[in-house]
């Protein structure tokens, strides 16, 4: 394994930012440290870079323990959350900074900076100052600056947080493509699960300084291991006492579960209902347009649920009484999570029956 953390602990005063953190990342893959703010993800990233030192535990990069290696000797490129570009230096000087610190010969600096400017599509802008660039351009300069000394590991702290939503999508796929092209092992920090799922090969979910679960995006989505992950990944809603829902009678009376919109099917009003006796009565309380589909707010018994609804299905309006089918839920069992199917729909299988 290329990056390997084992038993990492770190406290700031009484605040414990990392508790027994361990995970591995294979060479050439893109890992995401995903978690809510304050979950310790940035601290972990900074410890890998050497900007913080762990109180206990080992950090290995390429098989070598780097705990006592100086940050600049770890071969790590770092993209800061707000890019931390040197505001009083031109784009060229920003990118050249690391090479100049290494006392690289002038001709080599010129060549390498030119290469990187071409790579990030910033040719002709090398005389600009960061203040004269757009958010996306700044990110590309930060990326080029981190890559200039040819690091073996690239770390990115919330690389898309400072960019407006419109450009963010483009930048995500741009970054993913760039990392694929360079085949550089990378780790980025994010609090946005959609971002992590879309971009990363491997996700490490952190919560309260602990690693909750690691796995591919699909694994995490399909098999959340803990209630936290079930809640955090997907547009999950948490229900208490879900045993009162039709088809889930086997649940404990105060049983908690997480349910995702795609687990619920809304039958268009007036159309014949399949599996009539497994269906649940619901009232439409809200409708919101979500581009390719509608988001339907539902009241089922005392529960408020959200489901998706195809624009191609029949008309639907607030106040309609509809039938819904709930296929499955993630039931919380202590610190574990179990996928529970609607027992009246057992013939439908286990859900997510696809392979990528």
């Amino acid at each position: 394994m290329y990056v390997e953390l084992s038993g990492i602990n770190k406290s700031f005063g009484s605040f414990q930012a990392a508790r027994d953190v361990s995970f591995v990342l294979a060479e050439g893959t893109l890992g995401a440290l995903l978690g809510p703010s304050g979950s310790g993800k940035t601290t972990i990233l900074r410890m890998i870079a050497g900007l913080e030192s762990p109180d206990a535990g080992d950090i290995r990069v390429g098989g070598v323990r780097v705990n006592d290696v100086r940050p600049s000797q770890r071969g790590v490129g770092f993209v800061f959350q707000n890019y931390a570009l040197f505001r009083y230096m031109t784009v060229f000087d920003n990118i050249a900074f690391g090479l100049r610190s290494q006392k690289a010969p002038k001709a080599k600096i010129q060549e390498r900076v030119g290469e990187l400017l071409a790579l990030v599509n910033m040719e002709g802008l090398e005389k600009r100052y960061p203040g004269q660039l757009s958010g996306g351009q700044r990110q590309r300069v930060a990326f080029a600056r981190a890559l200039a000394p040819s690091p073996r590991l690239l770390l990115l702290d919330e690389p898309f947080a400072a960019i407006d939503a419109k450009v963010r999508r483009d930048l995500r796929s741009w970054l993913r493509g760039m990392i694929d092209r360079l085949r550089i092992t990378s780790i980025f920090v994010t609090h946005d699960q959609a971002e992590a799922i879309e971009v990363a090969d491997q996700i490490i979910i952190t919560n309260g300084g602990r690693v909750e679960q690691t796995g591919t995006p699909l694994e995490l989505y399909r098999e959340p291991a803990t209630p936290f992950v079930a809640r955090f990944v997907g547009d999950s809603q948490v229900l208490e006492g879900y045993g009162r829902l039709v088809g889930f009678g086997g649940a404990p009376p105060d049983g908690q579960c997480a349910i995702r919109p795609e687990f619920i099917s809304v039958c268009p009003p007036g159309e014949p209902v399949q599996y009539e006796n497994s269906a649940e009565e619901a009232e439409v309380v809200s409708l919101a347009f979500r581009g390719s589909s509608l988001e339907v707010g539902l009241r089922v018994k005392e529960f408020a649920l959200t489901a998706g609804y195809s624009l191609e299905s029949g008309p639907l309006s607030v106040g309609d009484k509809v039938k819904i089918l709930i296929f499955r839920v993630y039931a919380f069992q202590g610190e574990k999570v179990k996928l529970v199917n609607n027992d009246r729909l057992a013939s439908l299988g286990n859900g997510y029956n696809f392979a990528i």
């Binding site: 940050p71 770092f78 800061f80 959350q81 931390a84 040197f86 505001r87 900074f97 610190s101 600056r145």
Partner: protein, 278 residues
């Protein structure tokens, strides 16, 4: 500030008039008085007073004290501001508070502090005697007293700038292998240069004009430990009014130059900030 414009006309007029009258009465008139008194009998007596042996010596001593105090306080100010904004350490709040002491304490006390330490009654006196060192009633005492009263100026100007900026640019520099020195010159200094210059200017102004603290440690040895402000006071007390006002003119001119410099620094700094920092 729309509501200011909507304010009734007379209120606006009165406030502006009062401000100008007050400034004219309290600042401009007395300063003009100094100049007019100095040149009462033309340029010749003025020049004689200013080029008098003791005046020149006092001016030199003032300049020397100011330069030394500003140099040391600049060094200290940068170090303290860096430490306060870049590191977490015990006693940080205490350090921030204590830097401001010279603002709160009367300069006379600043002078007395040094007299009590290095003077005849001070605990360090025997040691100084033994090594034939003289601090009180000598130039080192003047420099010490001036440093004391001007200590906060540089640090106070830089701390907010450094604090507002965060540490990530420096971290980026360190990660890319830059040493402390290179990081300071290339990354930190460009950010604080105008605030630093501004602090140095304020510090110089105060150092040149300091009277109270310096008066206590000076001993008023004419030609030896008299700075310009002290020299002016002595001339005045001895009824050499013309000479006194003439020498005072030097300080007034220095003050005006410092004001102009300050204004320029402020403007250029603001312009630059608009250009680079968005």
């Amino acid at each position: 500030m729309a509501y200011v414009r909507e304010e009734r006309g007379w209120a606006r007029l009165i406030l502006i008039t009062v401000s100008f009258l007050f400034v004219a009465l309290m600042l401009i008139l007395p300063l003009a008085q100094v100049l007019s008194k100095a040149f009462e009998h033309g340029i010749k007596p003025f020049w004689e007073a200013v080029s008098d042996e003791y005046s020149v010596k006092a001016a030199r001593l003032s300049a020397l004290t100011a330069i030394l105090a500003v140099l040391l306080n600049t060094f200290f100010g940068i170090a303290a501001a860096w430490a306060i904004t870049r590191f977490a350490f015990r006693g940080k709040g205490f350090l921030i508070t204590i830097i401001d002491i010279p603002f709160a304490v009367s300069p006379v006390i600043a002078g007395l502090v040094f007299v009590m330490t290095f003077g005849r009654l001070g605990w360090a006196y025997p040691f100084l005697q033994e090594h034939d060192l003289k601090i009180i009633f000598a130039t080192p005492g003047l420099v010490l007293a001036t440093i004391f009263v001007t200590l906060p100026f540089v640090a106070r100007e830089i701390i907010p700038v450094l604090a507002a900026r965060g540490t990530d640019e420096e971290e980026a520099a360190v990660l890319m292998g830059a040493g402390l020195w290179r990081t300071f010159w290339k990354v930190t200094l460009p950010h604080i240069r105008w605030a630093l210059l501004y602090g140095i200017i304020l510090c110089s102004a105060r150092a040149m004009g300091e009277f109270g603290a310096v008066s206590v440690v000076s001993g008023h040895l004419r030609g030896k430990t008299n700075t310009l402000p002290l020299h002016i006071e002595i001339l005045f007390r001895e009824y050499h009014t013309l000479q006194s006002f003439s020498v005072a003119t030097i300080l007034v001119i220095v003050a005006i130059l410092i004001l102009i410099a300050r204004h320029v620094v402020e403007r250029v700094g603001r312009k630059e900030a608009e250009y680079y920092v968005r």
